[in-house]
Amino acid sequence: MGGSEADVDYQKLQFAYRHVDETPGHVHPVAVVGAGPVGLAAAIDLAQQGVPVVLLDNDDTLSTGSRAICFAKRTLEIFDRLGCGQRMVDKGVRWHVGKVFLRDEQVYTFDLLPETGHRRPAFINLQQYYVEGYLAERAAEFDNIDIRWKNEVVGVEQHADRATLSIKTPDGPYTLDARYVVAADGPRSAMRKALGQESHGRTFKDRFLIADVKMKAPFPAERWFWFDPPFHPNQSVLLHRQPDDVWRIDFQLGWDADPVVEKDPARVIARIQALLGKDVEFELEWVSVYTFSCLRMDSFRHGRVLFAGDSAHGVSPFGARGANSGIQDADNLTWKLKLVLDGTAPDALLDSYASEREYAADENILNSTRSTDFITPKSPVSRIFRDATLKLARTCPFARRLVNSGRLAVPAVLRDSALNTPDVAGDTFDTRVVPGAPSPDAPIKSQGRDAWFLDRISGNAFAGLYFCGKNEAARAAAQRLAAFEYPGVALDLLLVLEPGASLNDADLPEGIAAIEDTQGVLARRLDAKAQSFYLLRPDQHLCARWRAWNEAAAIAALERAIGKRRH
């Protein structure tokens, strides 16, 4: 690792096609279709839980062009869980400040992560080919991931207990049976077509030009967004820094722009020079003209096939909600697949994947649609309000909150999920971290060493957190907790000690460990008091909490979270 990483040109990597012979009658537990970021993440997450995966890709290369570049805090935390977060963060450009300009004047600036006590930054910018490259290298570390390049799925047949995929290869066609199929094959999903499904939504009549340029520029690592700048009148422009001195410049072109003409390098260079001035030297890295839609499939589950990422939903790029939500799809799905394949949870648990992620997709689509409508007004009056808002934003704080240059990706709070256990009457919590929310991070000590909370609970297990009071006999609490177990479900039980307290794990019953909430941040973020107990899912979403330990209630909540109990 280290210095050699920069030498890999992930855009030029070519993966070898291998001939495979399927054993007749063999049914794979899971086939993942599409080795993009979402398919790779799903494969790694399944493999690290011991589920063998066949990963099929119609091509033999990674992403061409930088494409998705903004990876959000929650996504990085998931990459941490997958064992490749640090590489991403080391290579990526951290940023948390955004600036908004109207014409040539800065209207306001915002900070996405104003508080400390989080391991990961609000965002990093990293070209999609690095993200895919690092994920592919991580996937290669698993013996139970069978990546098959140049394996194009051309048909799917559903059965009661499995799906049969028809696959085209350079050696001719073959079929493959899998109990479940994760369709992560992108916006033009062949799986979706093969099942006769389509996505529904709104296509926006606008064109945008992405120009990635390599240059030494004096701009800071911030997100700069211009409305109607003098160098590109009447349209918007977005500037973002990527690693390797590459800068993303995104020009709104309008619907009438000719996508072929606009890709002409001379024309692109003229647009960039209008922004940078004629003296700045740069090279064009990647140019793309695109349109976009906000849409989704009606259902993310069709029998044995589960759709994830762009195959299931699409958004405008404003807000970085595409790739980020796709990674969260994988995060939501894989622990459920594992429990269902093990026979621990009923097949119906997978319905909750669909409903939870459809809810998240709707939230992303709503945010992304609103941003797009603000950025590209659809009527004269809409334009008047936008400009009025921007002008007011110079002096009025409320107007800054109305300015919408993209509501940047935050994970969905799965508030209404059937997997959550509602708070017991009388238990009140003063925190935004409600059941359904992803757990906040916090600095902790684990076995005497500084650590991060989310990293500590990244073992694909449910986590139970019991907050010990100052004078409480921690060992006695541990004895009570030790009774909490459930057949087939991995449970990570943690005693959370107050700042300054410590306890040797060797003194605790097996299966229970202690962590120190070194600055009290975890308790504050969860609004925990002495004896509060929290149950977190393997994807680190909170699913139940109580002010006092109650074993029967905890078991019932766990059963609900794995789909074995209904309301």
Partner: protein, 101 residues
């Protein structure tokens, strides 16, 4: 009372979306009339001369009294934020729309 310029609307993005939706299908002239009507309705709802003057001053942005469409839009946004309550705002917007179609 003074004009509130801190955010006073619970869900600003939803409000903004509703504001733009209220104009759906209207001709440009109707839209401008709607804004003028909405400003009048919100002004009477607020009913405090000092607040209204302050808002008008910010909307005019230092220049003399302005009758531009953008002035009305700014004034509407300022008054709407001051009122804050989404139910009252939706009522005023719907009433203004009904008055121009």
């Amino acid at each position: 009372m003074t004009l509130t310029t801190e955010l006073n609307i619970a869900d600003p993005d939803a409000f903004y979306e509703r504001l733009i939706e209220t104009h759906a299908g209207l001709a440009d002239a109707q839209s401008l009339a709607l804004n003028a009507k909405a400003v009048a309705l919100l002004s009477s709802l607020i009913g405090d001369k000092k607040v209204l003057q302050e808002a008008a001053g910010i909307a005019a942005d230092g220049s003399a009294m302005d009758n531009s469409p953008e002035y009305d839009a700014k004034l509407l946004l300022l008054l709407a934020n001051h009122v804050g309550d989404i139910a009252q705002l939706v009522r005023a917007l719907d009433q203004a729309r009904a008055a121009v179609i």
